[in-house]
Symmetry: C2
Subunit: 220 residues, 2 copies
DNA sequence: GTCTATATAGCGATAGAC
DNA sequence: GTCTATCGCTATATAGAC
């Protein structure tokens, strides 16, 4: 039957608490900076207990990534029935990732760490979620391109990677640390640079006509 | 006198070899992934000798960063007398950083590592170079904005940070690893997304007229 | 089942031999 | 002056007490 014992509920609640701590610590200090002792102390349990739930530090990171992908999927599901255009949905997703980052809840993993990346690639749950999210976004990207809202000269997967990269763009942290901008303004600025680029619209339009060379190098 | 002994020349040459190795290893494995033993082995000297030249691993990283900033400064000096517009010079700088990254010669430091960041902030050579490069770029940015080539709604320092961030954009590594693009095309694509944004020009122009909401959120 | 205490290993940094 | 050998510390992971 589907009956879940009280004991199992307690265990699951603690697991959630662990993943939540890992998520925040990964956002604050990154993977290499986070220690397992710290996680145990933050959750309020002994390290040995932590290892009863998760077999390794890599598994902890994977669990945190799965949770953030779960949340992303939930946000995608909301947007799917929102009546927004594909382009607006993509912007809304980008905005959401920036807000998660501002809230200090976006786990950051090192770009290059062969052991960790191998562990993540071997995690079926992580890879499945990542694929599902990527496919949904890919659909919206091609739709936005078909409607003429996203530059068709950019391959869809490059658009996808660009959006993923913006979800952990260090510029947000720098702007936040400078203290010169409100959170709202930071989000607006980063969305503008991501979707609109640095170039002014006037220049971009003028560059469409041959004879001038001020436009950014075309994506051949 | 300015006479430099043969011995000192040898020491300086070795120092250059050390920094060169550190630079490449930082680009390959990142700061946390790089070990001092590895550096010594790569240079072909004993670790103790390494510590005669540089007092710590952090100092090694700082030296590598100073060297890359030196090279950036040299490139800026070339561009300053090139006859290009400010906007074109900024694009040329961005292109150069992408090419350095493609060549596997862009050292990558962790975004969050208090000890390392403190050491870098305390390094006068590093901070001086960083300031000099930033100021030169800042001049070009404001000039490009005055000429209407860069969006004036974006504060100059945000443009600066965006360019710095593109110099270590992980998207380049992903595209390179996919093997689906030539180096030239990768550079073209990343320059296009950075300066031109994801949005198509047609949509961007249409959005200038009120009544539609397809443009990226304006930078208020 | 939970915690204390420890095993094990890797890395930054150094002392001492030649 | 250069290298071998090692120290000391930290962090992941585990065994055994209660």
């Amino acid at each position: 039957m589907a009956r879940v014992s009280f004991r199992e509920q307690v265990l699951q609640a603690r697991e959630e608490a662990i993943v939540s701590s890992v998520n925040r610590l990964l956002a604050q200090k990154g993977y290499d900076g986070m220690t397992v002792d710290e996680v145990a102390a933050d959750v309020g349990i002994a390290k040995a207990v932590l290892y009863k739930h998760f077999p390794s530090k890599e598994a902890l990171a994977a669990a945190a990534m799965v949770r953030v992908l779960d949340r992303a999927q939930a946000r995608l599901a909301e947007l799917a029935v929102s009546g927004m255009s594909a382009f607006e949905r993509l912007q809304a997703v980008a905005r959401w990732t920036l807000e998660v980052q501002l809230a200090g809840e976006m786990p950051s993993l090192p770009a290059q760490n062969s052991a960790l990346r191998a562990a993540l690639a071997a995690d079926a749950g992580y890879m499945g979620k990542l694929l599902a999210v990527s496919e949904q976004l890919g659909e919206w990207i091609t739709e936005a391109q078909a409607r003429g809202d996203i530059d068709t000269a950019i391959p869809p997967e490059v658009v996808l990677y660009t959006l993923f990269a913006r979800a952990c763009d260090p510029v947000l942290g720098v702007l936040k640390a400078s203290g010169a901008y409100t959170d709202e303004r930071i989000v607006a600025l980063l969305l503008a640079t991501c979707f609109g680029g640095l170039q002014s619209r006037a220049t971009a339009t003028a560059a469409r006509h041959p004879g001038r060379a001020t436009r950014a190098a075309p994506a051949r």
